[in-house]
């Protein structure tokens, strides 16, 4: 059948070539006229053929597109983003319920407070949202905050009075922000300290409400209080991976988009054989047997997890060094927190005394108007600035005490990292700067990565290694695989991790394709169709 089409093309080609445009006899004019006449006839024939073959081309392409649609695996309706968000929320709950996390982390107070630093309109929405979230927790815990709770400074009061008023608009709040900002650019910090003071002052009540708060998080996901959420998280993560890896469309996607070449993945492909061979001790010169292939395939999933673990372990290693340093100096922390708290209380009283003069107050002789003395405003601002520094020192003393009470040399790396993720202000103020790429990412991104890693249910060595142990995980992993007959050197894991990661991804894709029973021939055809103009 195909030959018939090709024969037609040949015939048409012969037809086009059969036109004789030249004559040798006659005048120049006659020769030219003859040429033009025949050229017009030939061109008319060519136009007819172009029209015919353009139509055939269009029809062929249309038929090919139809075939492609049949060959292409059906796009699944799985909402991976929703599944990922669900897992993320489960991970949050596991972290919130972990005793290694601070009680303030469970309310996300520190994360919210860390956003109260803005001094531009662009961040105002975020600032207002964070204030709202904290105020709402207090309300739920039956400790409602009102404008008088923000008499921390005249500026904090003025803003929060507007913020908490029932009929204000966002525009009112923005105007209020601009109005205050030019008098006191630090006023958001005043609000932050006021909130921090209330959080510390209401610790008992907030801790009492905590079980209800945690229950609410579970309720949002429809998880009963008797469910082992850690186990659920592991199952859900496992299911996610299973779904993703058995999704024919997802597996084929990169081949269809021509990002990957299907030819490299067929069993006979030299690319595939060479990658698989790398993993075999005493690699065979010829191909790979089914047994050898099965051995590599068996270890690949574990290997993927180990590479993820190793990569993150190296990334977050400076945090372990930090924790170990703090543990070494544990004897020097005794009494520091109380000492700092005493100092703060003293300065807080001074602040109260100054600020009270800036508000109208009752006296024996009636209401005394607020002082307009600029010196009081200056004293108020300077005292609060001083307090901000003192609270920072208090936070460090508090974190040191927490480290000593919750961690020891016998804690595992995983526990230490869970501690780090569960103390947001520690992460925000100290740990983040220790990360190698901290200038390129946000604190939230780094914290989320740590959270996922520290609670990854597939971790193998960080949950079995003590923080005080001096280990080279690459050596341990390499030795283990040598025993299993798989060739992965310490150097591969140390210096060529990215290349190894790519190879392991390749192996995983081979497994997925074989399991899903996807036809390479089909993928190759899809690819060929796509390459056509």
């Amino acid at each position: 059948m195909m030959d018939k089409y090709l024969e037609d093309i040949d015939k048409d080609k012969t037809l086009v070539n059969s036109y004789n445009l030249e004559i040798t006899q006659g005048t120049k004019k006659m020769i030219e006229d003859y040429h033009n006449k025949m050229a017009r006839v030939k061109n008319a024939e060519i136009d007819r053929l172009i029209n015919k073959y353009e139509t055939l081309k269009f029809q062929t392409k249309e038929e090919l597109e139809k075939r492609k649609a049949i060959l292409t695996p059906v796009k699944t309706k799985i909402d991976y983003q929703a599944k990922d968000e669900y897992n993320s929320k489960l991970c949050d709950i596991v972290a919130q319920e972990n005793p290694l996390s601070s009680w303030q982390f469970r309310y996300k107070f520190r994360r919210l407070l860390s956003n109260l630093k803005g001094n531009s309109n662009a961040e105002l929405d975020k600032i207002n949202e964070c204030i709202g979230d904290i105020v709402s927790v207090f309300k739920k815990a039956n400790i409602p905050l009102n404008k008088d709770d923000f008499r921390y400074s005249t500026f904090a009061y003025k803003y929060m009075e507007m913020y908490l008023s029932a009929n204000r608009t966002d525009e009112d709040l923005k105007d209020c922000f601009n109005d205050i900002y030019w008098s006191c650019p630090d006023f958001i910090m005043h609000i932050k300290l006021a909130l921090l003071k209330h959080i510390r002052g209401s610790e008992k009540e907030l801790k009492t409400y905590l079980p209800k708060h945690l229950k609410e998080s579970r309720n949002e996901l429809g998880i009963s209080s008797s469910t082992n959420v850690k186990k659920l998280y592991k199952t859900s993560m496992h299911e996610y991976e299973e779904t993703r890896r058995s999704d024919e469309y997802k597996i084929s996607e990169k081949f269809i988009s021509r990002e990957l070449q299907p030819e490299n993945y067929i069993r006979e492909s030299s690319v595939r054989i060479n990658i698989l061979k790398k993993y075999l001790n005493n690699a065979p010169i010829k191909g790979i047997t089914d047994e050898e292939r099965a051995k590599i395939f068996e270890t690949s999933e574990e290997m993927t997890n180990l590479i993820y673990e190793l990569e993150n372990y190296n990334y977050f290693k400076p945090l372990i060094v930090e924790i170990n340093e703090r543990l070494k100096n544990k004897d020097s922390y005794k009494g520091k927190f109380k000492e700092k708290m005493k100092e703060i209380n003293k300065v807080e009283k001074e602040r109260e005394k100054i600020v009270s003069k800036l508000f109208p107050r009752k006296t024996l002789f009636g209401i005394k108007p607020a002082s307009t003395d600029e010196n009081f405003i200056l004293a108020q601002n300077n005292t609060i600035k001083n307090l901000n520094g003192l609270y920072e020192e208090l936070r460090i003393a508090e974190i040191n005490d927490d480290i000593v009470s919750k961690l020891s040399e016998a804690s595992t790396i995983e526990q230490a990292l869970q501690f780090c993720t569960g103390h947001y202000s520690y992460f925000y103020n100290t740990l983040f700067d220790l990360l190698p790429d901290h200038e390129e990412i946000t604190v939230e991104e780094a914290h989320d990565r740590l959270l996922r890693f520290a609670y990854c249910p597939f971790n193998e060595f960080i949950n079995k290694t003590y923080i005080s142990e001096d280990i080279v995980p690459e050596e341990i992993i390499s030795k283990r695989y040598q025993l299993l007959g798989i060739n992965i050197s310490t150097e591969d894991l140390q210096d060529n991790l990215d290349a190894l990661k790519k190879d392991v991804e390749f192996v995983e894709r081979c497994i997925d394709i074989e399991k899903a029973n996807i036809s390479f021939e089909d993928l190759i055809l899809i690819n060929k169709i796509d390459k056509l103009d």
Partner: protein
């Protein structure tokens, strides 16, 4: 216009009507490439009209 080989029978002298649906996908891809090449050939073989056409 939908191409039909039936319309071409007289011009081409083909006895049997052809149907591209009967071709395998590989053959279709091959045919497509051949058509493309032939179209390029046709376009390159159009003749120029010499001198002043009006005279």
């Amino acid at each position: 216009m939908v191409y039909s080989m039936e319309n071409e029978i007289d011009t081409l002298g083909i006895k049997k009507a052809l149907n591209i649906e009967d071709l395998t996908t590989e053959e279709l891809i091959d045919l497509y490439k051949n058509i493309e090449d032939f179209l390029a050939y046709l376009k390159a073989n159009k003749e120029e009209i010499k001198g002043d056409e009006e005279s």
